[in-house]
Point group: C2
């Protein structure tokens, strides 16, 4: 699994010559990948591991996303605007990633049709994820959101602590326990 | 105000030759622009008027966005995926729009660097709007969200019925009345 393959598979774009340089890196469990209030400089592809996105608040923090093997991720608003991120990106397990550098992508945008096509597709995908999450929160109960999550990501229950899943679903850990009991 | 000007102003892209054909249309107050469960075919630029986006639910409907003069809008998830929309797009006043056709844009994508740059920027902007709305809901109270809205869009209070503003903020109209009284 590589970022180049991911793009070929997902975006149905003919890629004769991949227009970006690909870098690799490893993170240990609990390492910070993108620090809160820093400016995002990379687009990551997760080769292995789980990553969590946390929104820090005055009252309480909230996990707003999990990413798994074969997902792309970055603090996208910060990357686009080149402004400090409100999201912290953290490794929830040991992780291996490939990544592209923003500064190099920006250069490539000026002349490469392919680079712009790829980035358009990436941003479209990120938009749809955000949109679906909004719809899910507005239309579905916590119970339904939990079902949706384990249907889409059955590995969640074994690989992520219940407390974090509850935070992601926007409910109390005890409510999640009740939902899980009512199922089994 | 035209869509071509909008793009030049917002995206700092050199546009010698605008790569899309621009169409115009008018809608009357309460006209449906994009019907629920239809597939979005256009990207709109609002020359005048106000547009609302409603997410229909089994329990209750929710207004999730307002758009004003000099805004771009469309049922973007439906447009990207070419699948039926869960959102209905409706004119809240008489509206004049310019629009681009999806079928024509798709053709242009294949060869025009500029078309891809523009669409990348449009999608980035839509993503940031969605992201900011998520952050706003998770971090701020209804009181704070109301302040944010009238700071960004002072015209809202005079041009949109209170019931609809409350629906957008995710609160009861009576709660909104209390917030407004506590301010004045």
């Amino acid at each position: 699994m590589t970022i180049e393959n991911y793009i070929k598979r997902h975006f149905k774009i003919e890629v004769e010559f991949f227009p970006f340089t690909v870098y690799t890196k490893s993170f240990k469990n609990n390492d910070i990948i993108t620090k809160i209030h820093s400016t995002e400089q990379n687009i990551y592809y997760l080769k292995s591991g789980i990553v969590e996105f946390t929104l820090y608040g005055e009252k309480h923090d909230r996990i707003i996303d999990f990413f798994f093997e074969d997902d792309l991720f970055c603090a996208l608003t910060s990357l686009i605007l080149q402004k400090p991120t409100e999201i912290e990106v953290r490794a929830l397990t040991d992780c291996a990633v490939e990544f592209l550098k923003y500064s190099e992508i920006q250069e490539t945008y000026k002349h490469s049709l392919l680079a712009n096509q790829i980035s358009r597709k990436l941003t479209e995908q990120a938009y749809i994820l955000k949109f679906n999450r909004e719809v899910s929160f507005l239309k579905h109960s916590a119970h339904e959101r939990y079902f949706e999550l384990i249907k889409k990501r059955p590995e969640v229950m074994n690989r992520i602590p219940v407390k974090k899943i509850a935070e992601y679903l926007g409910i109390h850990p005890e409510s999640l326990s009740r939902i899980r009991k009512s199922i089994s």
